[in-house]
């Protein structure tokens, strides 16, 4: 059953210390910042942080707090605003264990986690890059049993908990994305527990009026955290744009 919790209780109750934590949102859009800030406040150690194919402040902040031991993130940056300062420093100084990965591999690895598939072979193109051979923890070669050819495969990722931001929830705990889903759906399905931060509560009829595939049922949602404005300084589609001034201020401080 879905519980309705404040950020403090959701993080304390559902994010295991040293666990595999997935954090959604792409770039500076729909990052579950109310939950991310609470992770920092409670100083929850993260054994492995798994992000969307492109992540930003939601990862940089946790890395900067020294909470992340191991990172799976194909892109950490701030797009037009620049590189991710704390991520950059942690990698350059060797204070984080970065598992090199790619967008397609990560997405398929979460698909595998969601579907109980042990691993997923990747398109042949991946072998032309240096990514797979630089991370044997995630990528290994396998023989295609149909053709006999070698190909690269990625291991399934199964986060202990996923933290994502959606627009709305109803009182039963059903949630509506109310936005482009990015890869947050498969991240949600792959995780053993799911905490969804929402902008507001709506009647159940409002969720029911949405089209198939744009909502998630309560039975997949461990906890709903109602946090209006909780994506800031990232954008919450339909509610507010990214707060560029706040992001610039973060970057300025982070670069020190």
């Amino acid at each position: 059953m879905t519980r309705f919790l404040d950020p403090e209780r959701a993080v304390a109750g559902l994010v295991p210390a040293g666990g595999v934590v997935a954090v959604g949102g792409m770039h500076a859009t729909a990052a579950p910042m109310a939950l991310v800030r609470e992770l920092a406040r409670q100083r929850v150690g993260i054994g492995r942080l798994v992000t969307s194919p492109s992540t930003s402040i939601q990862a940089d902040l946790l890395i900067g707090e020294g909470l992340v031991e191991e990172l799976v993130a194909p892109y950490v940056g701030f797009e037009d605003l620049g590189l991710a300062p704390r991520f950059r420093r942690a990698v350059e100084e060797g204070t984080i264990r970065l598992l090199e990965s790619d967008e397609g591999g990560l997405t398929h690895a979460l698909y595998a986690g969601a579907g109980g598939l042990p691993f997923v072979p990747l398109p042949p193109a991946i072998g032309r890059s240096d990514v797979p051979r630089s991370c044997p923890e995630l990528y290994r070669e396998v023989e295609d049993p149909f053709t006999g050819e070698r190909c690269w495969a990625i291991r399934a990722l199964r986060p202990d908990v996923a933290l994502i931001a959606c627009a709305e929830a109803d009182e039963e705990g059903n949630v509506a994305f109310g936005r482009v889903p990015f890869t947050d759906r498969v991240m949600a399905l792959a995780a053993r527990a799911l905490v969804v931060q929402v902008e507001r509560l709506v009647p159940v009829e409002s969720i029911a009026a949405r089209e198939a595939g744009t909502t998630l049922p309560a039975f997949l949602v461990s906890a709903v955290v109602v946090a209006p404005g909780g994506c800031a300084p990232t954008a919450s589609p339909g509610f507010y744009p990214r707060d560029e001034a706040a992001l610039r201020a973060y970057l300025e401080e982070a670069r020190l």
Binding site: E92, P123, I126, R179, V180, F182, R185, G238, P241
Partner: protein
């Protein structure tokens, strides 16, 4: 006589001319320039061009201006949005996407792109954002590389890390020139210099040995029609 234009406006025109009608273009982070190019191509010579903006999965968005965030909520303007998961599928599948707009911290003589970092990847001098979707580059029809940084640190003989292989690179566009692969060796060579730029300058600012054709073609400057469309697409002057 041509009107005044900025280097980025010229680059947008060069990119746009490389897109053919009916093709599908996909772009990644910081999409302002390829977004301008796609909309320009669609307005002028490629009405059936389709373009997919980065992580957002939006198809053919036409926001009020040029956006620098690939997941900007303002990108909703397109008629269709594909979940990113499905864009990832199509990138790997091949046959669906014709052009991938890529870039890199380093770009080498073979057109390989590096977004991982400079120096030993295990302990880099400069760590970049990461490889994102570039490893699937060879699965997409052809790659078009653009960068605002034409200097010997960016254009190197061999990247320190191959994020995306240059196998399908068809064109490189910088503020100084365009390059293309030699069909025989697949190494990049100078294709054209932008108006006012000399081949010597381009070679001096390229970190690998750059073959130069004789005579050196000049990149055609933006036409009045191109500049008119760009002015309409980019009221805030992002490319100015």
């Amino acid at each position: 006589m041509s009107a005044p234009y900025s280097p980025q406006q010229l680059m947008a025109c060069v990119l746009a001319r490389a897109f053919r009608d009916g093709e599908v273009v996909v772009m990644g982070a910081v999409p302002a320039l390829p977004l301008a190019a796609c909309r320009l191509a669609k307005a002028l010579h490629a009405p059936s061009l389709s373009y997919v903006v980065g992580g957002s999965g939006t198809v053919n968005p036409a926001p009020a201006g040029l956006l620098s965030q690939s997941c900007d909520p303002e990108l909703r303007g397109g008629p269709v949005t594909l979940p990113l998961h499905e864009v990832v599928l199509l990138e790997g599948r091949g046959g669906a996407l014709d052009v991938f707009c890529a870039g890199g911290l380093q770009i080498d003589a073979s057109g390989n792109c590096n977004l991982v970092g400079v120096g030993d990847p295990a302990r880099p001098k400069l760590r970049g954002p990461g490889s994102v979707g570039l490893p699937f580059l060879p699965a997409v029809g052809r790659t078009v590389i653009f960068t605002l940084a034409h200097n010997p640190r960016t254009f190197v003989e061999r990247v320190d890390f191959v994020s995306g292989a240059g196998d399908t690179v068809a064109l490189v566009v910088t503020p100084l020139a365009t390059m293309e692969p030699d069909p025989g060796t697949r190494r990049l060579r100078l294709a054209s210099v932008h108006p006012g730029v000399s081949a010597d300058e381009v070679r001096a600012r390229t970190g690998f040995e750059l073959p130069v054709p004789e005579p050196v073609p000049e990149t055609p400057p933006p036409t009045a029609a191109e500049l008119a469309v760009l002015a309409r697409l980019d009221p805030a002057g992002v490319l100015a």
